[in-house]
Amino acid sequence: MPTRGEEVRSDVRRFRRRHDLTQEELGDRVGVTRQTIISIEGGRYNPSVGLALRLAEALGVTVEELFRLSPEEER
């Protein structure tokens, strides 16, 4: 059953690839494991605000560019 948390879409994978980073390298930069990056990219985990800010900083974008609500939530 979908939950409210699963309605956040992540563009982490796209920006990570743009920077030619592996999931492990990105994880090392923001202080989390590769498994955490995999889960964020796969939409199975919504990071905390702190981690979202660190990811945005590591990828040189804003948090809003990395994460957005799915169309059902955008009103």
């Binding site: 592996t22 492990e24 989390v32 494991t33 590769r34 985990y45 702190g50 981690l51």
Partner: protein, 262 residues
């Protein structure tokens, strides 16, 4: 290609805990059954150290996964224990020592779940204050009910006044500590730990009259909330998801970014 599979690595904590579990099982098999406790230390030790803030090898996703798994274990373990206990008691037979232990496990599961939930929602100070208020209120009802019972059976008696004084005397520490928990958390935490130790020693005097498992359960129900409240106040338990270290790092990063923007 940026998604190449790195070689899987077993974290050092997992290596150590696996070795300790293996050693515990070997000792249990070949030396003495009591050595199973070593396997227990290996299995549960790292998690307990993480929750105490003494080990920080997990990131937020791993912590969330561990807590989710813990909640599932609580639900399934608690239900299974109650189902077994229910089946034993339904059988009509006398509840033996093993059933007492199952009750104890259920109480520990429930108390742990309750304490963790309260600390997460309210934080240590409010939780301790409310636990103490609840204890005080429960004790007040007990004292009032006893005094009414005595008044009805004995009629007007000077001893009743003494009973009222003693009852109020016993109530005051609960409400007093509930008040101080928000103002002086560390001092109150120490008082609660001292009170727990005193209650344990005082009730320990009656140990011979009960089965050991029943005593352990009663002590857990009585002392558990006081002990947890005291430790929570002393160590500031109840912060969610991010560790103090992560908060400090985030605060430092945000300050340096503000300076750049200015």
């Amino acid at each position: 290609m940026t998604d190449r599979e790195p070689k899987p690595r077993l974290p050092p904590t997992a290596l150590v805990s696996t070795a300790v579990v293996a050693a515990g099982v070997l000792l249990w098999m070949f030396v003495s059954r009591g050595w199973l406790v070593v396997a227990g230390l290996g299995a549960f030790g790292p998690g307990i150290l993480r929750e105490l803030g003494l080990l920080s090898d997990h990131d937020e996703f791993q912590r969330r996964a561990a807590r989710r798994a813990g909640y599932h274990a609580y639900l399934i373990g608690g239900f299974a224990a109650i189902a077994v206990l229910s089946a034993i008691e339904w059988g009509g037979g006398a509840v033996d020592e093993s059933a007492e232990w199952i009750r104890f496990i259920v109480v520990v599961l429930w108390l742990t779940w309750l304490s963790s939930t309260l600390l997460t929602f309210w934080g240590p100070q409010k939780t301790a204050a409310r636990v103490l208020t609840a204890f005080g209120a429960f004790w007040a009802v007990f004292v009032v009910a006893t005094l009414i019972g005595d008044a009805v059976s004995m009629g007007p008696d000077p001893e009743l006044l003494l009973g009222v004084a003693v009852g109020i005397g016993l109530l005051t520490p609960f409400f007093g500590l509930a008040w101080t928990a928000r103002r002086w958390p560390h001092a109150t935490g120490l008082c609660l730990l001292a009170a727990s130790a005193i209650i344990f020693l005082v009730f320990g005097m009656r140990r011979a009259n009960f089965e050991w498992s029943a005593v352990v359960m009663r002590d857990t129900l009585l002392l558990g909330p006081l002990l947890v409240s005291g430790l929570a106040l002393l160590f500031g338990w109840g912060a969610e998801e991010t560790t103090p270290e992560e908060n400090r790092r985030a605060a430092g990063r945000s300050r340096s970014r503000d300076q750049v923007l200015r």
